[in-house]
Amino acid sequence: MTGEFILETRDLTKEFKGFTAVDRVNLKVRRGSIHALIGPNGAGKTTVFNLLTKFLAPTSGGILYKGQDITAEAPGHVAQKGIIRSFQISAVFPNLTVLENVRVALQRKLGTSFHFWQSEKTLDQLNSRAMELLEQVDLTQFAALTAGELPYGRKRALEIATTLAMDPELMLLDEPTQGMGHEDVGRVVELIRKVAANRTVLMVEHNMSVVANLSSTITVLQRGAVLAEGPYETVSKDPRVLEAYVGSEDAHG
């Protein structure tokens, strides 16, 4: 089942009481690409993310991953299949060390995660792999620090390292550069480019320069529906997209 598209949605719809947050969205994410999902606030981007990772159940429509219907799967299972998400609010385990944060993600594959009688020293065999991952995101010198003490940009980097530890085929990044200073944005962009080399990335992003810089395909959402799709050059000149962004105060680019 190695089709051209790793992820497809078919008329994906989510209604909250009397309000359609996501309206018949048909997404096709090409294998190996960086696909960006953009749109004004409230366009339904995060809802789409939550649907894809099964944190929310769709009202109707289907989700296909590698040609397989995953609409009814549990979130833990979707993660085990290789779809790993990051969160809008930086999601680290604040009271674990930086190393432990990454190691928790590596640990599941050992198959000892229910072994309450074993010493945690049995996890030390994963430390070198965890350090490799931390090196990829320039965090080796912080390995022993408690994750909660990291500055914001570093937390995002740690989150990406944790996500990478799962060796995902498809990474879903929810606003990876949100709330970052200019310097951090540059670092995260480079990081995403690096990790996307041999996998597929779908991201929600507000920062237009990041989107323009990274993504090969852009889908613009407005009021829950797809407004336009294509490469940055096409989408950025689309009059409907310009209107949608000028109409709101959300245009950063």
Binding site: G76, L96, Q107, F114, Q118, M166
Partner: protein, 312 residues
């Protein structure tokens, strides 16, 4: 370095515990302290290391007390078998109640555990073998492995101490195991743990069963040590008391519940002359604890030591 310091501290405390009955410690009081300390430690495994507030832990403590008392008194089982049976019984009860409760979070989880423990309480009021208001009295301690008589308070004390050390070591091991790592990650950020492929319900359920089993072990030991299993053990006030013990000592610290429970038991014991004022004094202590030192006694101490070593 800090590790060896902790090790020295543990050895010192253990030596003190071994010597206690010979330096003026009253064995019955000491046994009661140890049983409640283990109970609080078991409770802390859930609230402190998994982030689940159970408001029905008395059902495990009390039910195990009944099982141990009944099997020792009526069926004549030896103490170690009675305690093991009661522990397994609590684990089974924990599996059923946990299976229902872990599907909900926060206050709903607490309410479900409370509701289920009330059901267990009313069962115990009605069931003939518990003797309702009278409780099961004068439970024989029997002979350990059918050989060593536990009738002497000091001998019994060492048996209880051994059980406590085993339980405490067990909890320490659980917290510092691969499983414990996952529990901590669930406590810290459940959606993230889920997105890393952990089916969090299953982990919570195992933690709940382990906590129930250890709480049961504490209850069973208490029933044999004090020769008594009553409705007090299974009542909701007991569930509240263990919350208080854990918060006072410091939830999420491994030694905190021991300190907290010892203080509460000591208060109940030595202030019993004040009658129902004890409850008011305990309530006031709780308020002061929440207002002034939220991390609990051990938690504040650790924080103080850590901030001092950071400055140095």
């Amino acid at each position: 370095m800090s590790l060896s310091k902790t090790g020295v501290l543990y050895i010192a405390v253990l030596a003190l515990a071994c010597a206690a009955p010979f330096i003026g410690g009253y064995p019955l009081f000491l046994m009661k302290c140890l049983c409640f300390a283990l109970f609080a430690c078991a409770f802390n495994l859930l609230i402190g290391f998994t982030g689940l507030l159970s408001f029905g832990h008395a059902m495990f403590f009390g039910m195990a007390a009944y099982i141990a008392a009944h099997s020792a008194k009526v069926w004549g089982w030896t103490p170690e078998v009675a305690i093991i049976a009661a522990t397994l019984g609590s684990a089974a009860l924990g599996y059923v109640t946990g299976w229902l409760a872990v599907r909900r979070q926060g206050i709903y989880f607490a309410m479900i555990t409370l509701a289920l423990s009330q059901m267990v309480y009313f069962f115990c009021v009605q069931a003939p073998f518990t003797y309702a208001e009278d409780g099961i009295q004068s439970v024989p301690r029997g002979k350990l492995f059918g050989v060593i008589s536990l009738a002497d308070d000091r001998v019994m004390y060492y048996f209880v101490l051994a059980i406590f050390v085993f339980g405490y070591w067990m909890i320490h091991r659980i917290i510092h195991s691969p499983f414990g790592q996952v529990l901590k990650s669930i406590r810290e950020n459940e959606p993230r743990a889920l997105s890393l492929g952990y089916e969090v319900h299953k982990y919570k359920l195992l933690a709940f069963v382990l906590s129930a089993a250890l709480a049961g072990m504490a209850g069973a030991t208490k029933a044999l040590a004090l020769g008594l299993a009553t409705l007090t053990d299974v009542q909701w006030q007991m569930s509240g008391e263990v919350v208080l013990m854990t918060l006072l000592g410091g939830m999420g610290t491994i030694a905190g519940p021991v300190v907290g429970s010892t203080i509460i038991i000591a208060m109940q014991n030595y202030l019993s002359g004040f009658g129902s004022w004890v409850t008011i004094i305990m309530g006031a202590t709780f308020v002061v604890c929440v207002l002034a030192f939220r991390r609990g006694i051990v938690g504040e101490l650790q924080h103080f030591l850590k901030s001092r070593s950071n400055k140095a």
